[in-house]
Subunit: 250 residues, 4 copies
């Protein structure tokens, strides 16, 4: 089979969309953020991506229905501006699979003439923080300037080792191969559990950046739940020294 198969609606009229991607990864920050945007903006699914680079597996849904693992592309038009959202069950299992999937979705959306790529992810810092920062990397100078003014931290040292996986590849391949500039937003996260608090920070910045009106309350509620849970664990005896490093928590 083709290593990537995209089943999409035809005859879509999408103009110079902003492409926003968040796949499973560190603290699941990117996926939580994009799934939240899809839900709150009521974006509509326009394509499924299947790939032999994903696990050879069907998921079982609530109704015990089987469905093949996939990545998904959603679309939303807001005040005459078009947005595409890319999420999914998994990232590619291998290095080559990650390239292949990232390239394929970029190739697929290139017909819509995207004008900006925004990838979302987590930046693992190995400890809990009160207010996670949002770090950035960019290929678009304009986006960088505006995001910096919104508090996003651009630093040559963070992330020091580069950005691995879809959040990096969609940005890199987008720029080098498809000539679309972009930016990557990474929410600080302990990385030890699925982190809605970090995702909330990312969504907040993104909403300001794109001038989107998004109700952030549900994410705040989930973030509070996690905060309470981790605070309780902190109060347990003999866990004092763990406050700084939750190594194997979650």
């Amino acid at each position: 089979m083709e290593t990537v198969i995209i089943k999409g609606q035809s005859k879509l009229k999408i103009n110079s969309p902003v492409f926003i991607a968040g796949l499973p990864g560190i603290g699941n920050v990117g996926k939580i953020a994009v799934d939240y945007l899809i839900e709150k903006l009521e974006a509509k699914k326009i394509a499924d991506l299947y790939s032999s680079h994903l696990p050879p597996q069907v998921m079982i849904t609530e109704s015990s229905r089987a469905r093949l693992v996939r990545n998904e592309l959603y679309f939303k038009r807001l005040r005459k501006k078009d947005y595409l959202f890319f999420t999914g069950d998994f990232q590619g299992l291998t290095s080559q699979g990650q390239y292949d999937i990232s390239f394929s979705i970029l190739d697929y959306i290139s017909k819509f003439n995207p004008n900006l790529i925004i990838t979302l992810g987590g930046y693992q810092i190995g400890k809990l923080v009160e207010v996670p920062r949002v770090l950035g990397a960019y290929t678009s100078d304009d986006a960088r300037k505006k995001l910096e003014s919104l508090g996003v931290v651009f630093s040559k040292n963070e992330p020091g080792g580069g950005i691995i996986g879809g959040a990096g590849l969609l940005l890199g391949l987008g720029y080098e191969i498809f000539n679309v500039e972009g930016v990557c937003l990474m929410g600080e996260t302990s990385g030890y559990f699925s982190d809605p608090k970090s995702a909330k920070q990312v969504v907040s910045v993104l909403a300001k950046f794109l001038n989107l009106d998004i109700d952030i309350k549900d994410l705040e509620d989930k973030a509070k739940e996690i905060d309470e849970l981790t605070n309780k664990m902190m109060e347990l005896p003999a866990s004092e020294e763990k406050k700084e490093d939750l190594g194997y928590f979650g």
Copy 2:
């Protein structure tokens, strides 16, 4: 070489068959069940599938003859209804290999316009049970309803982690890429040995579902043999606590 090569008979007239697949896997339930159906229904082999995703190996037959490892497709017409059976020595060695082989056989049979895919497998529960349940997952609502009435358990929690390998992929790719609905039947099994008892349950349900007249006696005999063997082991001193969990038995 092509990663999958199918050597099949030409000029076959097969109409809207039910495609039934059982490959080696957990408790070998799927393969035992399909091999039993092939034998009892005297289905005729119509194609061999060779693949570089299978082990690089020849098997040695009873007569010391060498034969390349393979998957096999059998055909049977019963009361004007056509059936295809898919079995084999191995599943694909890698994730990509599993996709490739599943896709290829689905592509091959798509010319016959299949109307239902049934994949058979085992569901590992890690202990012995008196009467294994048959669990189901589905993409066909009709099949689900009928199977549920026959006692098959459909649950969002079982199997919780989805269905991995050919039993999942043939169902998932069949539905998403080839537009053929289907169902997966999984017999409960300890998973510690090749399990004819579980296969018997699966075959019984399947026979009722498809209205096939299949003598189940040989499977019952094999199931009894295994039961006697495991009962003897249970009676050995100091094995009392193992009755519930046969971890490394077999």
Copy 3:
């Protein structure tokens, strides 16, 4: 690059050759045997096979010259009968690589209309034996009969687990995909070192089978050297119990 590249002489007139293959493997029996045949029969190289499935490496020759790792095809005509010999530095690194290389060389020689495939290898028994047996597996009934009369052992239990790697695949793919019958000859070997004694047995049987006049003396000399070496080790104190099992010798 193409995963396999064969650089061969053009305009060769080769008619229905016997194809004899021995690649590195257990006890190196197959490769020693085929290399010996090439040397003694003064066969001429007619093709090099390069592949991305081989290690990414150049070898350094006696004169410090670098040469890419490869497999090689040699040709010899003897009394109007044609022979091809296949040897090499390595087998494919992966399962898929083994299929690819075996398929490619069979595809390459198919234009010469080969009439028999003979693969040579070692059969690991984990101990030293005075006179190694030669075991066989076959897809050619005729070859089996003749080889049995020459003392080759054909058994459903040996090798029980099938034949893995090139010795198996060339036989299996040759028969199933290229319609060429064949036989595999495996010399018993401890498997703990490169085993000229086992190779000698294989070459002796093969020479009789093919009616070839081959001076076996050099292999006998090397076999004696190994025998003397292993005998000396046996006589060392405290090594008595190791006579039966040389586990990590060599």
Copy 4:
């Protein structure tokens, strides 16, 4: 995606260049040497190579800009003689990836009709030496003679196990598939850290061989720094016995 994508300038007039390659590897000798040549000769980049065989990653530059990992091709004309330089962030992650990338860049430059391939690398000896030797392997007899007269050591025993990775493959594939002769120069290195001292020796020999006027001072300075650092570590108490083997230093 294509496994290798080369984005290069068109309409380049390059005539029979010498192709000089140094990729990350043992002691990083090859990459340090080629990067130094590119800098000192002010060579100009003419192509970027991207590949799904490289890590799925963007690097973060000094200005926090993201850029996709890559290999790079540079060009310089000096006294009417053309030179190509090949460097990069990484080598291919797999054996097949190494073949693919080496083949692709050779294929790309073959249109310029290269007349010599020079690959640079490190030769790990596991200890510090005062003056690292430069070892050679060759497919060009002429280059070997000249290099031997410049002190390069050609030996069948060093490197005994052949040359692995790009330094070997570019030489081997260049000769066997693209009919371009070449030579590999390997600087002796402990292999425990990035080794400018070894790279200096390689660059010195290469400059003489190619009759290039290259200021070696910066490399000498870096080499001295490393020397001073390792000397200091040698003088630490209890480190006396480590002088010969710096196993885990660096």
